[in-house]
Amino acid sequence: MTDTDPQKPHERAARHDPIYDTLHQEPDFVELRRAYRAFVFPATIAFLSWYLLYVVMSNWAHDFMSHQLWGNINVALVFGLLQFVTTFLLAWVYSRYSTGRLDPLARRLDEQYIAELEGRR
């Protein structure tokens, strides 16, 4: 695929193939981009805020974080471990979502791309 070689022409890669313009207009692509962004943008804001809340509380809510729950297990430890739980959970949910919602759309677009290239031969 020399036409997608990013090194030619050199200074700025020229447009590679008009097929991308076609694919960009496809309802499948519009839906893929919408569905992808609708998941990752809110999810990123959510996990970053949740993490920053943890950091800020560790700094400035010392009494609350030091509260002992069971034996020597305090709020700070549970809060920290909850960060592990939410990370695992979000990773799992994203995996389900992308396999179920995003991958079929991406596959159809990729197939269309391959079919178009082969049709030109």
């Binding site: 695929m1 990013p6 090194q7 030619k8 050199h10 200074e11 700025r12 890669a13 447009r15 590679h16 193939d17 991308y20 313009d21 694919l23 960009h24 692509f29 893929l32 992808y36 998941f39 990752v40 999810a43 990123t44 996990f47 993490y51 920053l52 943890y54 950091v55 800020v56 560790s58 700094n59 400035w60 010392h62 974080m65 030091s66 002992q68 069971w70 034996g71 020597n72 297990i73 305090n74 700070a76 430890l77 920290g80 960060q83 592990f84 990370t87 695992f88 979000l90 990773a91 799992w92 994203y94 995996s95 992308s98 991958d103 759309l105 991406a106 677009l109 990729d110 791309y113 391959i114």
Partner: protein, 544 residues
């Protein structure tokens, strides 16, 4: 040399022999640039997930974090949490799109639509700087470890170790390329998980698997009481240190997805779906590993006696895990203790070797593919020429790292890695994210953001208390900064620059883009979007 040292030396040589064997085997499977740079893109998601774990769980995690917890209690735990949560940035925003849009390096993705000679120069520069910071951390860890095991504290012994590690990593990379490096990382990940799981079980068994008892003993043994289990022991002493903690936290969570040696791992799998799968595996593996370090750190605080703790303190915390292994095996002088100490040290040594190989490979690929071929030869160099340059670059970068590691030996390795994260989050992440998600982003924005982030993060460290102005420790009389006490150039109060340099780099990326008159490459962005999201036209795996 007594029996224990003989055992240790034998295990170390065993690790070296295995990795050298893997490297020779891999060199016979390596034919062209895609093999050397990206392992032929033929690794499965699980294999790459293990290799990412092997690349990421560095000596800084194994030795540094457990050491930080052993010394500062709960505050050391923040490193683990930041290092783990950071993977969500890589999973959601970076891994799959980078795999689809690029070829071998971080710069490929930028060069897709920006003026490539300038952005390749910038991205290669920051790749090399971040990798060298990270390399220093690993080599310092190696020096400390060997000095402990052979019971020599002389600088010569440490320097010889650093030199040997450097020579090995140059060998792995120049001979084995990405395939060799990946297999070394996979083997190391398995060894590290198994070795630390063993110590964790032994530590927990001492407390009847009661975590609360373990924590209680750690707290009372530390002499700091409940404060040892609460946040603030290290970072809560003043308002400045609290802001430093926040700054560290931000750098950790945003740094991972900008680490060049992690980014190039996404190119070693056939599709973006495999890249996602590898990140999922990595998250599981790394998460469990950091839970282990929590037990190792508190376990060291709970079980080590005063003499051992003094060694841990003297090493900046780096020796907490190896000494803990010796302790749970039966203590100093016992056979069990000697075996476990040797075993864990060999695992740590394997860890260091795997990580330094990944780092050296990353920077040499960037020098050869981006600087040499992309910039100097304007894309005209042959594959053979490029690979030759990559091997030379590995040699030179390795030598630079060796020379720099020798004076850096007094720093805690987790801290050095945190600095690498701050630089990665400042110099790399903003342009990666802008390039994928912002149509208006252009060459000037990328350059301002990369150079601005790089210069501000490294510059602020130079003028921070790390370099000068901390004075001497009132107890030990040791100089706490890197420069001699007679020189004081510090004016920036924080040890971690992230809180300033990361927002600054994002701001510069925006400002550079909106003030540039460069015409928008709309059709290139269209293509980037389609290709990044759907994988249409992305680089395929090599079929041999």
């Amino acid at each position: 040399m007594d029996g224990d040292q003989l055992l240790t030396t034998a295990l170390f040589l065993g690790v070296v022999a295995i990795t050298v064997g893997i490297t020779f085997w891999a060199s016979r499977q390596t034919a062209g640039a895609t093999d050397f740079y990206a392992g032929g893109r033929g690794f499965s998601g699980v294999q790459n997930g293990l290799a990412i774990g092997g690349d990421y769980m560095s000596a800084a995690s194994f030795l540094g974090i457990s050491g930080a917890i052993a010394l500062s209690g709960y505050d050391g735990f923040l490193y683990s949490i930041g290092f783990l949560v950071a993977w969500l940035v890589a999973l959601l925003l970076v891994a799959e799109m980078l795999r689809n849009a690029g070829r071998y390096t971080m710069a490929d993705q930028l060069a897709f639509r920006l003026r490539q000679r300038s952005v390749r120069t910038a991205a290669a520069t920051s790749t090399v700087v971040v990798s060298i910071f990270y390399l220093l951390a690993q080599m310092v860890g190696a020096g400390a470890l060997v000095a402990l095991l052979l019971d020599v504290s002389s600088d010569t012994a440490k320097n010889i170790t650093i030199f040997a590690v450097g020579a090995l990593m140059i060998f792995y990379v120049t001979v084995g390329g990405m395939k060799g490096t990946t297999w070394v990382q996979i083997v190391k990940a398995v060894l590290l998980m198994a070795g630390s799981a063993l110590i964790v079980v032994l530590v927990l068994a001492e407390f009847g698997f009661n975590l609360s008892d373990l924590l209680g003993t750690a707290a009372s043994n530390s002499g700091k009481g409940q404060a040892f289990l609460e946040p603030g022991l290290k970072y809560g002493v003043s308002d400045t240190s609290k802001i430093d903690f926040l700054s560290l936290g931000i750098a950790l969570v945003l740094g991972t997805a900008g680490l060049p040696h992690i980014l190039i791992r996404f190119y070693t799998v056939p599709t973006s779906r495999d890249a996602r799968k590898s990140v999922l595996w990595a998250i599981g593996l790394i998460g469990v590993f950091y839970l282990f370090t929590l037990v190792l750190g508190f376990g060291a605080a709970a079980l080590l006696n005063k003499g051992d703790m003094a060694k841990v303190v003297a090493s900046g915390g780096n020796l907490a895990s190896p000494l803990l292994a010796q302790n749970v095996g039966g203590g100093d002088g016992s056979t069990g203790g000697a075996v476990l100490l040797a075993l864990i040290s060999a695992v740590a040594f394997a860890t260091i070797l795997a990580v330094v190989a990944g780092l050296t490979l990353t920077s040499s690929v960037s020098v050869a593919h981006d600087l040499y071929n992309g910039v100097l030869r304007r894309g005209e160099a042959s594959e053979g020429q490029e690979l030759k340059v990559a091997r030379w670059a590995a040699l030179i970068i390795g030598l630079i790292a060796i020379l720099l590691a020798i004076p850096a030996q007094r720093l805690n390795v987790a801290f050095l890695v945190a600095l690498a994260f701050a630089v990665a989050a400042s110099a790399n992440l903003p342009s990666i994210v802008y390039n994928m998600f912002w149509k208006r982003f252009n060459t000037r924005g990328a350059l301002w953001s990369i150079y601005g982030g790089l210069i501000s993060s490294v510059g602020l460290v130079i003028f921070s208390p790390i370099m000068s102005g901390k004075g001497v420790d009132p107890v030990s009389g040791k100089n706490l900064s890197l420069l001699p006490t007679s020189i004081d150039i510090s004016w920036f109060p924080l040890e971690n620059p992230g809180i300033v340099s990361i927002p600054l780099a994002f701001f510069l990326g925006w400002l550079g883009s909106v003030t540039s008159k460069e015409p928008d490459a709309v059709e290139r962005y269209t293509e980037l979007e389609v290709r990044a999201l759907s994988g249409a036209g992305s680089e395929k795996a090599v079929v041999h």
